[in-house]
């Protein structure tokens, strides 16, 4: 376990020493402040559009950070030849992979803390109340979703030849799932067999990342979600993350690294 934690520490250091996070955070802040300065019918209490824009920026930035950080972990280790002195230590490939996953996931978690703190402060300036439980649930579910995406990107980095291909495929797949996955069962109803079975099969197999997108509940001040529902969703996400990680470990063990 300490090897996994040691590797994850290096990944976290990499994130906060690279400029990606700071650029995206500053961009989010600037966009939100500009949109917040717009006057709509002389009403300074309008807040939901601002929350929506802020949360959209947070989701986009977090996916960019998660996918780009993860997609380059193993390929850059191989390309920069830092993998060899690392694997020459008493460290298994499985520990290395789990360390990379944990590091990326924790790094994204820290980024989410910064983003959601800014979001909470921004919303509080107009709403003058802070639904902490709702924000906490949203951040937690968002973090679990990123865990699934990171595990998928890590698996992709071992399967696809180039980090750019992996990044593109991850973005396309994640966007497809977030936009369409919820509706695949309705689409399937209107298709003839055998396409109906294929689409239904796809509906049940893919990880439903849209389950973790509770932005609308936050924006429109819905009551907090029941904790047992959050727990079930979190377990669902962690199961998929574990499945991707196990697949990645099996691939990595057989892969030639030179």
């Amino acid at each position: 376990m300490s090897n996994i934690v040691a590797v994850s520490g290096v990944v976290i250091k990499e994130l906060y020493r690279r400029k990606d996070f700071y650029v995206l955070f500053v961009l989010t802040v600037i966009i939100c402040l500009i949109m917040g300065s717009v006057n709509f019918f002389n009403d300074d209490k309008i807040v939901r559009y601002l929350k929506e824009i802020c949360l959209l920026c947070i989701w986009i930035c977090s996916l960019v950070i998660a996918i780009t950080t993860t997609a380059r972990q193993i390929p850059s280790e191989r390309e920069n030849r830092t993998l060899f002195p690392l694997l020459a230590k008493p460290l298994t490939r499985t520990q290395l992979l789990l360390g990379k996953f944990l590091g990326c996931w924790l790094a994204c978690g820290l980024a989410l803390v910064c983003f959601y703190t800014f979001f909470g402060a921004l919303a509080a300036t107009r709403e003058h109340h802070w639904p902490l439980v709702s924000y906490l649930q949203a951040a937690m579910l968002h973090w679990v979703m990123l865990g699934v995406v990171i595990a998928f990107a890590l698996f992709g980095s071992l399967v696809f030849s180039a980090p750019s291909a992996n990044t593109t495929i991850c973005f396309v797949v994640v966007t497809f799932i977030l936009v369409l996955a919820r509706h695949l069962n309705k689409i399937a109803l209107h298709l003839p067999e055998p396409r109906r079975s294929v689409v239904y099969g796809l509906y049940y197999v893919i990880p439903h990342l849209e389950l973790f997108d509770v932005r609308d509940l936050i924006i429109h001040n819905w009551p907090p979600i029941a904790w047992n529902v959050c727990g079930v969703a979190a377990l669902y996400g962690l199961a998929y993350a574990a499945a991707f990680l196990i697949s990645a470990c099996l691939v990595f063990r057989r892969k030639a690294i030179n």
């Binding site: 090897n3 290096v10 250091k13 020493r17 060899f84 020459a88 230590k89 008493p90 298994t92 690294i257």
Partner: protein, 294 residues
């Protein structure tokens, strides 16, 4: 200082009984040159050992046939030896090292470190490795890198700082310890490599072309480190093209050519037997004939 228990080293040479391909006495290597023979120390207490090691790279498709990079390599390095692993480019030296370090699997045969199969991660607990091309995490400082590697070796926290200070002083990187590695020159990066190879106070040091690309001062430093380790009773296994250096520091050498072990023995004995320098022996072994100048 090693706080971890390792499996008992195998000294019984019949330990491989029952393993296909390894029953019976070890066959002699297939080369024409008389051997100085393995050292008695290596025979009793091999720190590094290979038996009929074969590595074959599979060709891609029908046009590229399989290529045997290492052929039936049998080698033993004893405790406290400085062993030079020589050969021209493409001889199989790096492939052998990759097997020893667990980067690739052997096609057949076996390899062990301190009696433990090289496929076990614990086999690497007591070794230090310096690769030929030294690249480390550019966003880390030397101190952070060493701290990371020390953690992987499970060096106790109290001991960690002392060791980091010691190796940084040894490789003369104390003033630059807090700077990120991306600001280092090539020589400094090489020294960082040496430092990370020594952080766990290894009993066996594996060096792949340690003086490659270094200036004379750098090369001298590396030689000093090797000598110092030898004086401390550590074992050093390194490959190099600098035959002059090898002659100076090594106790024994092995010369590999086209995947086969051609010559092995003590440097002094080989020189006496063949009545020539190590360089001349090397050229003779690989079949190099000098072209007349006219």
């Amino acid at each position: 200082m090693d706080t971890h228990k390792l499996p008992k080293q195998k000294t019984d040479r019949n330990a491989n009984a029952g393993i296909p391909g390894l029953e019976g006495p070890v066959p002699p290597p297939s080369f024409a040159y008389p051997q100085a023979g393995p050292s008695p120390q290596a025979a009793l207490d091999p720190v590094l050992e290979t038996r009929n090691l074969c590595v074959t790279y599979r060709g891609r498709g029908t046009r590229q046939p399989d290529r045997q990079a290492v052929k039936a390599l049998t080698l033993a390095v004893g405790r406290g030896e400085v062993f030079g692993f020589l050969g021209p480019n493409g001889a199989g030296k790096t492939t052998t090292m990759n097997v020893l370090l667990g980067f690739i699997n052997a096609s057949s045969g076996s390899a062990s470190l301190f009696g433990t199969d090289v496929r076990e991660p614990i086999a690497r607990q007591r070794i230090g490795y310096l690769p030929e091309l030294t690249y480390y995490y550019k966003f880390l400082s030397a101190e952070e890198l060493l701290r990371f590697y020390a953690r992987i070796f499970k060096v106790p926290k109290a001991e960690r700082d002392r060791r980091i200070d010691g190796v940084l002083k040894l490789v003369d990187l104390e003033p630059s310890r807090k700077r990120q590695i991306k600001t280092y020159s090539k020589g400094m990066q090489q020294r960082v490599g040496l430092a990370q190879a020594l952080i766990n106070d290894p009993e066996l040091l594996i060096l792949d072309e340690p003086t490659s690309g270094l200036d004379p001062v750098g090369r001298m430093r590396v030689r000093e480190v090797i000598q110092r380790l030898k004086n401390e009773g550590k074992t050093v296994f390194f490959s190099s093209h600098e035959l002059g250096e090898v002659e100076t520091v090594c106790d024994r050498v092995a010369i590999l050519h086209q995947g086969e072990l051609k010559v092995e023995g003590r440097v002094s004995e080989l020189a006496r037997q063949h009545q020539c320098s190590l360089e001349q022996l090397f050229l003779k072994v690989i079949g190099y004939a000098a072209q007349p100048l006219n």
